[in-house]
């Protein structure tokens, strides 16, 4: 996993450097200032030639759906404020090679019919959106049919409204090769939303306090997300109906409450989950339908349920993870779960290691009978840690009758892994 990071990091660096340094030669500069309202930003955009830079001076600008139809750079000086007056979209991009940087975009309109965004890309490529602040937008940055775009170092704060009156922080639809790097997103519906997005990277973002998911994947394949922090979102992170999604070194924490997950996986295949920290969630990772998934080198701690897998998980691997201080480590609704659960560290393991090979000499069954009872009838949780529950678990350990025999760690580690 360390190796993977080593490979990925330079690639990202080179790619972002290339794009940042990309300045079309012989470009003109058009200035817009707040003190000269007769010359508006839209006029500047109209007059600009391809490759020109529109430089916006500090101050307040009331704008209504600025149209960008040619490859220009829109650069803010001293953080100018572009205000959508709670009615309009702010920037609509219909061209390639557009750069938007250094702006504060606020107060877009809110609509139940249209997806109004602070910045919306309608089919474009090589677009860079960096170092902006977006506040109180319906959607923050909206990409549709975009490719090879970079969204970097933006701060996107939603309006803390209800689900219906709140859009996503960064929303991508039918896009390819998008890079979303070092953004901070909060108080939106979903922090980052991917639908039909492929070959994309999400790196070092902080997505928290969102109304639904910190990150939400739908039908998006061959994507990679690394080193992000998802915390205190209402429902955690959700990856659904996707293939070849790789999740590395992320932190999923403090997603508490009814139906809350650190990470929720549904109908996914060939996904890899490596080196993540999953801490303090009601359910750490919940999996409903997964094929050839591997969960390795993660640390699960202080979750109610660390890992919840249902019967439709096939050929999955859960190896070399740490399970510490979770109320329940693994729960399943079925007594027939297929997969490999070897070489994990379980703090509830009570076995011994006489041959000193650092793995316990007796196998460990991480599913307790009581956790299965609770999975069937949640209210029985009132008996959690009662003598009754403890006895049931002990008896089941001696004579396994209900818990899945196949869900077993044959080589439980004696010491936690340094993750």
């Amino acid at each position: 996993m360390e190796n993977l990071t080593k490979i990925v990091k330079p690639i990202i660096l080179i790619l972002s450097l290339l794009l940042c340094c990309y300045q079309p030669g012989m470009a003109g500069i058009i200035k817009v200032t707040a003190s000269q309202p007769s010359f508006s930003i839209q006029q500047a955009l109209n007059e600009a030639q391809p490759s020109d830079t529109v430089l916006i001076g500090p101050g307040q600008y009331k704008v209504a759906d600025l149209q960008v139809n040619k490859p220009v750079s829109i650069i803010g000086e001293g953080l100018p404020v572009l205000d959508g007056q709670h009615t309009y979209q702010i920037l609509s991009i219909h061209a390639d090679n557009v750069k938007v940087s250094g702006l504060k975009l606020q107060h877009t309109g809110i609509s139940s019919l249209r997806d109004i965004a602070a910045i919306k890309i309608y089919q474009g490529k090589e677009i860079v959106i960096s170092d902006n602040i977006i506040e109180g937008a319906f959607f923050g940055i909206y990409l549709s049919k975009a490719s090879r775009c970079l969204i970097e170092n933006n701060q996107i704060i939603g309006q803390q409204q209800t689900d219906q009156r709140s859009g996503n922080g960064i929303h991508a639809w039918k896009s390819d090769q998008i890079r979303i790097i070092q953004n901070r997103i909060s108080h939106h519906r979903d922090g980052i939303y991917f639908e039909f997005v492929t070959h994309s990277l999400i790196y070092k973002n902080l997505s928290q306090n969102n109304l639904r998911y910190g990150l939400h994947f739908m039908f998006s394949n061959n994507d990679l997300y690394i080193d992000n922090v998802f915390g205190q979102n209402n429902a955690g992170v959700s990856v659904m109906f996707s293939k070849y999604v790789t999740m590395i070194k992320n932190t999923f924490r403090d997603n508490w409450g009814d139906g809350c997950y650190g990470l929720f996986l549904k109908e996914i295949t060939h996904c890899k989950i490596y080196g993540n920290k999953i801490t303090g969630n009601t359910t750490g990772i919940a999996v409903e339908g997964a094929n050839r998934m591997s969960i390795e080198l993660n640390s699960f701690s202080e979750n109610g349920w660390a890992l919840k897998v249902d019967a439709s998980c096939l050929m999955s691997r859960v190896n070399s993870n740490n399970f510490t201080r979770n109320s329940f480590d693994i729960v399943t609704n079925s007594s027939a779960v297929a997969g490999n659960f070897d070489h994990n560290y379980w703090d509830k393991y009570e076995g011994y290691d006489l041959n000193k090979d650092r793995t316990g000499d007796i196998a460990y069954h991480p599913v307790s009978l009581f956790s299965m009872i609770v999975a069937n009838n949640p209210t029985t949780m009132v008996l959690f840690r009662s003598l009754m529950a403890t006895l049931l678990d002990k008896i089941e350990k001696i004579i396994p009758e209900f818990t899945p025999v196949s869900l077993v760690d044959n080589h439980p580690l004696m010491q936690a892994l340094p993750i």
Partner: protein
């Protein structure tokens, strides 16, 4: 009354059983805190132990003490002092001595290794458990003349509250699975002092697990300050009602 309480406390504190009880608790606490890497997990193990041992020892020790004091209680009754005063003095004397043993055995190590809100709540709940089961023991003792039977009843009561009752709850929760049973579960737990203590403590510890699954009723009713207060009031009722019943019976009893 103070005079009698003082002498009863002095008597019990010199009893080998009570010293053994304090030492046992102390050893368990120290072992648990030293073996577990985090004090949080130590506290968790301690909770399970406290919820089993404290009620058991409280109920058995006080039943035996009351039966052994039978002749002495007769002598006291022949003295110019109200029966109520005698009975309350015995209750308070036993309670004070056993609570002290608990505070030394569990309270001290908790204060040293895990002095936080949960630790303090554990000490409070442990003392309330002690008081509850002494109260229940005195009710059992006042209704049964025979010592062996009295102790047997004490053990049965303990078994009922620690195991049988929960089995019954489990059965009911599955019987009425198709209905909204959160409230039923909540009421049922209130009917068992061990359950209510456990849930009070767990809501402070494994809150995520409980909150996530048993839903809004539990969180609304038992989470937060009001919940702790409700739980403590419930435990106080468990102390007060058996004690009051035993007091009434003792007032009319032929010794």
């Amino acid at each position: 009354m103070k005079k009698i309480i003082k002498y009863i406390i002095a008597d019990i504190l010199r009893s080998k059983i009570i010293i053994g009880y304090a030492v046992l608790l102390l050893m368990i606490s120290l072992t648990v805190f030293n073996l577990q890497p985090s004090s949080g997990k130590g506290l968790l193990s301690l909770i399970s132990i406290v919820l089993i041992i404290v009620p058991l020892i409280s109920i058995i020790f006080s039943t035996i003490y009351i039966y052994n004091s039978r002749e002495f209680i007769e002598l006291m009754v022949s003295q110019p002092i109200k029966r109520k005063t005698i009975w309350l003095s015995f209750y308070m004397g036993i309670s004070a001595a056993m609570s002290l043993a608990f505070v030394i055995g569990v309270g001290l190590p908790v204060m040293i290794y895990s002095c936080n809100a949960i630790g303090i709540l554990l000490i409070i709940v442990g003392v309330l458990q002690t008081l509850t089961f002494i109260s229940i023991a005195m009710l059992a003792a006042v209704y049964s003349k025979d010592k062996a039977r009295g102790i047997g009843i004490g053990v049965l009561i303990w078994l009922y509250f620690s195991l049988i009752f929960d089995g019954f709850v489990l059965f009911l929760l599955f019987q009425f699975q198709d209905y909204q049973i959160d409230k039923l579960a909540l009421i049922l737990t209130g009917l068992n002092p061990i359950d209510i203590s456990r849930i009070l403590l767990l809501l402070k510890m494994d809150a995520s697990a409980l909150m996530g699954y048993t839903g809004a009723v539990f969180r609304a009713s038992m989470g937060g300050q009001a919940g702790i207060l409700t739980g403590i009031v419930d435990l106080l009722a468990w102390i007060g009602i058996p004690l009051w019943l035993s007091l009434r019976k003792f007032g009319k009893k032929d010794l």
